[in-house]
């Protein structure tokens, strides 16, 4: 008996029982499209947390104590969008007798504005401007020194040397201890460099593989300790993202578990509605295995149709919000992982696109087992008597 005959017959059964097929397709379609969107949203939330955390200051990969033999230009490889050069200098800030111990980080303000976001956290004044001897410092440091934008302060990298005078350009507050305590910024030429080493904040394009780029750096510069990714530097964020993936997967399995009860009932009704047909076929000599093949072909064909439009629907919904984003600022304003922006952009990945359809197919096949076995086990004469 040709396999294609049963597939064709299953297709005819589905096409010609339009109403039931449509209802079932709609059930599976809505579940799949919704879960694709939710999975993409979960990915988008993870992306937003990473983006917020790395864009504020550190970049996706941080380079520490890089020798001057490694140039900024040499760190641009495939997938790297920008490399920010930062030269840290320890010293003392002084103003009207007030002192504060800081790490003054010399930066290129133009490049910083392109990739990092610390300048967006300004409370007073403005960010650094190229060519000016200015300082941009945090609110706690400004309070310690009792200064405001426009004031002049002194910076002494070495107690034996006279302080360098800098004008206060602006005051920022990130809410993050590491960036608000003992840190200030100036532009590279404003302070004479004391150390020959520099730090790098490396920003990657969307979708670039940080581990691959890191491996490239390790290979090129032979020193593993020079470069670290955001997941090494922020293990708490890494754990949170892993937790998010796991909880989303569990939620999807649970949701599909519940949805599958509804789908199982609908499939049972759908299959048992055709009990009469299976009875007639059995009387004509259709074997139990052929009956099973027919029933599962119906379920699989119906699912493939539903999954196809479910995937299209889910992708379409994600595409709309992928451009505009979903502003969740009201729920993220006090969260350090959303410090720059609470806008979430859902993103499609292999995980978000295929998890829901695979679950739908598996659950549907499982839900068809009981009615299929019932059809096989039910006596043909019992079926025919009920006609």
């Amino acid at each position: 008996m040709p396999f294609t005959f049963w597939i064709k017959t299953a297709g005819l059964f589905l096409v010609r029982s339009r109403r039931s097929t449509t209802v079932l397709i709609l059930m599976v379609f809505s579940a799949v499209a919704t879960l694709i969107f939710l999975a993409s949203l979960a990915i988008g939330i993870n992306d937003a947390m990473i983006r917020n955390s790395v864009s504020l200051f550190s970049g996706h990969i941080s380079g520490f104590n890089l020798p001057s033999t490694i140039s900024r230009k040499s760190l641009f490889t495939d997938g790297v969008s920008n490399v920010l050069m930062r030269i840290p200098t320890q010293g003392i800030l002084s103003h009207s007798g007030n002192l504060a111990m800081v790490t003054l980080i010399a930066v290129d303000p133009v490049e910083e504005k392109k990739s990092s976001a610390i300048w967006k956290k300004i409370l007073q004044g403005r960010y650094l401007e190229p060519g000016k001897k200015e300082i941009f410092l945090s609110k706690p440091v400004a309070e310690q020194l009792n200064i405001e934008p426009g004031d002049n302060i002194g910076f002494s990298p070495d107690p034996d040397l006279p302080p360098v005078e800098l004008a206060v350009a602006g005051i920022y507050n990130t809410g993050m201890y590491q960036l608000d305590r003992g840190i200030a910024f100036c532009q590279i030429s404003a302070v004479p460099a004391k150390a020959a080493e520099w730090n790098a904040a490396i920003f990657l394009n969307d979708g670039a593989d940080k581990d691959l780029i890191l491996a490239g750096y390790h290979k090129a510069y032979l020193k593993d300790s020079l470069f670290k990714t955001w997941s090494d530097l922020m293990p708490d964020l890494k754990q949170l993202i892993d937790l998010n993936y796991i909880s989303m997967s569990i939620v999807m399995v649970l949701v599909f578990g519940v949805v599958s009860l509804g789908i199982a009932c609908a499939f049972s009704i759908f299959i048992l509605k055709n009990l009469r047909e299976y009875g007639i076929m059995k009387a004509m000599g259709v074997t139990p295995s052929e009956t099973l093949l027919l029933i599962f072909s119906e379920v699989i064909l119906l699912n493939l149709a539903a999954l196809f439009i479910g995937i299209i629907g889910g992708i379409a919904a994600v595409s709309v919000f992928q451009r505009t984003g979903i502003d969740l600022s009201a729920y993220t304003s006090h969260n350090q992982y959303f410090i720059v922006s609470g806008v979430v952009f859902p993103r499609l990945t292999t995980y978000s696109v295929w998890l829901a359809p695979c679950l739908a197919l598996v659950f549907s096949i499982f839900s068809a087992i009981w009615p299929a076995v019932l059809v096989i086990r039910k006596n043909t004469s019992q079926i025919l008597r009920s006609i």
Binding site: L12, A283, G285
Partner: protein
Amino acid sequence: MIRTRNLSKSYSTGRGKVQAISDVSLFVDTGMTLTVMGKSGSGKTTLLNCIGGIERPDTGSVECFGVDIHALSNRDLSLFQRRNAGFVFQAGNLLSYLTVSENIAFPLVLNAIPNKEKDRRVLELLEKIELSDAARAMPNELSGGEAQRVAFARAIAHCPKMLLADEPTASLDTETGKNLVGLMFALGKEEKCTIIISTHDQEIIKLSYKSLDIRDGKVKGPENE
């Protein structure tokens, strides 16, 4: 030939155990026509179901053309049915999602008849049952008589050795029923098919080669072998 020996079958119902047929032995020679008559609930359907392999008897055997069909496994019984048997039931015979021609072609596909031969046979049968114009019609578009004619055409499409018809005229008016049975007997003879038909219609009984009266599951009269 078809032979049953001491065939018995009972059912458990809400009203206790019901003996549907008891110790039925009969013999029908190849190409002959047997009418099983009896009142409703007399066991006609159970007897036909046991002969056709639709139902397994509690005791006794059914030998169809040299094969003890209830000694076969479920799969082998299905394969035997598809090659050698054709069924016509009281009503609701057709696969409702298939067209008239697809219904008639179904047993031909099951028996792996090549497409060309299958199409020829379907057209031939449609002509014989005078429903050539309804080839693409769905079963719900047919009248009761037309549906039974299609069911009959489907039952004999693959040239089975036996045709079992369980009160095929029960849902039809007298004239339509008479025409259907006439067609059934004529085509059965043409196809050299052994026909067993259950009915309480005296007109049909007159047309058959041999008849058998069944009462309360037991065969009455000399036809009981």
